[in-house]
Symmetry: D2
Subunit: 341 residues, 4 copies
């Protein structure tokens, strides 16, 4: 059985294992205050062209989202998000458990527009009963989105402008950021994110690490006292250097970008094959998650050899499925899949 189920089915790039072995008996301070974390911070700041940004390392995505959002919002504020946003759908109410409402905006493709965001902020401000309504206190977007789509530089710039105009911080969930950066049509860089957002994270879990997300915080107000929140929310790893070591390896020699290209090369190959063979897509194929529509017969046939998610039934005969490639996807498996399509 060949799996295209997700981008977290395997371990990590071999360089990380080598580094873990090499550093195993070093004695270091805990909680992310060790030299490996410091070095990783430097590498990331450099990659982001953001000398003054704070960088903190967390273990996973839900933890990162919850810690960041809870650190920023005041008790009567909520976070604007696409209705399909990971925080709104797939985190068992983690945001609400910290006391805050997800203010969900409608979307067809996983993205929300600067206009939608501005309207939501104004709708609150202009309502006579505004004190009775949750105030939008942060903007959350995923890049790539949960449905594999990407905001362009123009779109992100427009959102950033709204964020700054109304003093509502912008947060980008980059759990799959590597794949977005390596995508054919992408025109954004890490430096753009550092310039346009208040806080964002660079996903390791899904892009070559065993685990770990690097939270980059250009906004000084959010950086202050952020480590209290990490500890309180259970995210302060005792052997914090494990995160430092992994991000050191990922950001040496542009590895993070190179391994992401592997995923995108094969995703694009599969997408091209699907298009050629006449399959339609539920969402535009932009990154390493592909959402073609298939007949149930075809799905049953493919499932004999391949593991993948069936996302959503469309009618009695058709469903949306998902193929995911990763930094470790192999050519031979991609070839087999294309042949079987």
């Amino acid at each position: 059985m060949i799996s295209f189920e997700s981008d977290y089915t395997e371990g990590c790039i071999p360089e990380i294992l080598t580094a873990l072995n090499k550093t195993n008996t070093e004695q270091t301070t805990g909680y992310g205050l060790d030299p490996h974390c410091d070095n990783a911070r430097k590498l990331i700041r450099k990659a982001c062209n953001a000398e003054n940004a704070d960088v903190q390392f967390l273990v996973g995505g839900t933890q990162a989202n919850t810690t960041v959002i809870a650190a920023v919002l005041k008790p009567y504020q909520g976070v604007l998000t696409a209705v399909s946003g990971h925080i709104n759908v797939h985190e068992t109410g983690a945001i609400e458990a910290t006391g805050h409402k997800c203010l969900a905006l409608p979307t067809d493709d996983g993205k929300i527009s600067a206009k939608q965001i501005e309207n939501a902020i104004l709708a609150h401000r202009n309502d006579e009963t505004y004190e009775h309504i949750v105030e939008p206190g942060m903007i959350y977007i995923s890049w790539p989105t949960e449905t594999g789509t990407l905001y362009s530089k123009k779109e992100l710039t427009a959102i950033s402008r709204v964020a700054r105009k109304y003093h509502v911080p912008l947060f980008v969930d980059g759990a799959r950021m590597g794949y977005g950066l390596a995508a054919r049509n992408n025109d954004l860089t890490l430096a753009d994110f550092a310039k346009l957002t208040d806080v964002f994270y660079i996903g390791g879990t899904k892009v070559g690490a065993l685990f770990g997300e690097a939270v980059v915080i250009p906004n000084k107000n959010i950086a202050a006292n952020f480590r209290y929140m990490i500890k309180q929310k259970g995210g302060m790893l005792a052997k914090g250097r494990l995160l430092g070591i992994q991000f050191e390896e990922l950001f040496k020699n542009d590895r993070y970008f190179k391994i992401s290209q592997n995923a995108m090369e094969y995703a694009e190959k599969i997408a091209d094959a699907l298009q050629e063979k006449g399959y339609e897509f539920r969402y535009a194929p932009e990154t390493n998650q592909l959402f073609p529509i298939m007949t149930m017969a075809k799905i049953t046939e493919l499932r004999k050899k391949f593991a993948f998610h069936v996302m959503e039934p469309l009618d009695e005969d058709h469903a949306v499925i998902r193929f995911v490639t990763s930094w470790l996807t192999k050519k031979e498996n991609v070839d087999k899949l294309i042949k079987a399509l």
Copy 2:
């Protein structure tokens, strides 16, 4: 510089690194539902003689404490703990952040007694204004405690009886459980904990793993729906197998017990030397954390060669310090320390 600062300054036992290497390209399901986690569950259930207990794996101690306690308490309940309990002192209010009060009981040695606990429960029940007072809804103890002491089997049994008499679940934080089990005067086993408590955890982070705590849940009511809480509190590791693999290695061939003996052998050697040389202890030296009292001059002298924590000044000339040994403590370093004392 030789460090006796903590038991999480190094990496992990080599068998874990070997296993991570060996399994690195395996494709598995995420979130702790993979074969490695299942196998680790079996090994732990067997070690605890608790066939029906649920076992779940979390990344760290604060996360484990918060998730367990938040899963059990009703909104108007709090958790009984020694005033020195980790949850009451060193987790940045993580329990309160889930809405619950730490009901702190006084202690001199890090332990609380069955009688204290019973009195606290009765004080609430007998108060006319009980509806205005937080109800004790769980008992939290650490074993070993934060000050290195141990409850005996008799003491734990007495607490367990109170817990059952009043239907207030008993939870044991076993972040350093291995060292307690290997201690000279210990008369408790994992099977005892499985029999006497409602939920407890076996610490990996401080006992040979890179990270990870195995939460054992003999009480079915707590086990039900516990995984929702893990996800909500940010503790559900995407590549959950990393926890399974580590606990597989720790519980193969009684490794968990053997590596703990290393720490205890050296802790006892240092404790004996300290006693011989006439040092007094702030807390009885029972496990791998030792709390001798030293003059400031001696502390200054020792700090030239050794790293350790100064815990608490006693007067202008004396302070309590802490030496910690671990599964990786080396004979030569212990000999050097004893020589320097």
Copy 3:
């Protein structure tokens, strides 16, 4: 200026003021444990034909909603509600502030159907990633709804069946219950609510009292320990008898029903006049809140003499407005309004 703005613009029925005067120097125990509260409980139980239901008195609607919902939900559960539900829109995130998500269902008329509720419950249960998704743990409906509409006995019975089939408690927000009960097309009674729901409340604030909501709890599990929650959420009035005295007066001689009829008589008169004059309604005129559509010119004209809310612009020339009648609405003012339409 004559106000049709809301049903809480004035004080209370004169009998309440008389009773407050008469009882002013009585000495009673606090916190709702006095003879007046006990007597009001009896009157309400009788009116609900629910001898065994618990009855507790709270000061206002947001407090009642928050206290009830927080008392029932487990930490990983949320509450199903129409997207237009008061808890989802107009309570500044009070439910989320207690840690729980509002699971909003679409609606056109303020109501949700048994089928929608069942589908939401099943969608969660049937999802492979259900542990990553908030579990529906309670059903919240308003009766009358925020848009003035009513569930019929048939509709409520169907919802109740789903609630019991899936063990998801049903909660009815009855802030304006009196007006619903007095409505022309209503076929439900207080006894029906006591039979079909797990908990509901009978609004006093908007129906003749100075303040106060009577929470009726037929479900024993919810009643147990509910008073702890009242205290914690700040709802336990020191001079609790003030609530007892008010509900004693409201439920003597069927006053609650009679005063509601006044509102409904005039609401129906205005609704009939609107219809006759060709105005369309945004929501069907069923209770004491009417939502006709008017031209901006007409709105401007009416506002010279009458106070009312403009709810929602429809296009450049039209908007939805709201007229509200109450237990104190006067015939002469209704006649003036009808004349002006």
Copy 4:
């Protein structure tokens, strides 16, 4: 039976009932935005000599404490309080339910000192592991305290200096403020509180009103957006004018001060009689709550004619009891009590 149980056993001053009658059919806006609230604000600002302070009205003490503290603290902060503080003991964990720890300081008389507070703040700042420890983010004191004692102007000024030195806001719970102001040895005024604190409240519930606490907020940062918190915490009374009307009456013609003198006159008379007859006090008799020590025989005898609380057993033969006088305490009842002592 004559009650000295508490100061909330009766209704309110007759002027409030008269005003409720007189205003009953007025039509006003809801939520505290009406002319009565505005007028009461003016009267209170004047009484406090604090033209620029914000004034908001809440229904009760637990609500006031919770709303104020939750509005001020950041998620990782807690509130410093005497261990005997109302928020720490008698509010069913309301503060913790908003996510914050009560940082309890020891006390013998219900008071905490500027030195204790400063030490607690410094202990946190100077701890190497400060990020693992809840930060003191607010100072809560009660005036009078729960045990009837008073801070002097010198003591309050010292606390205020610490608060400002370390930027930790100072909050005074004045549920019984009237009685403190009227106490024989008091040297503080409302103007002092407005000058020395960041936020405090003037209790109505226990001092002449049916219910209601006037929160005075000299600190602009706390005032901003405070009304969102009131709504979220369920404290925004629909017919907010009821609070305005009550505080209008209390602050007309210095009534609040005059009615408090009644309580203090009788409290001091009883205290003097107790002292004369040789009774000892558990806490110094400074305000309207008296805590004499009595034999069980005497308690049994007194209870035949008088209602009062037995607070705390001292030994088999003695207990601390509490007598409370109020704005409505009558001379004849005081004379009877003194005769019976």
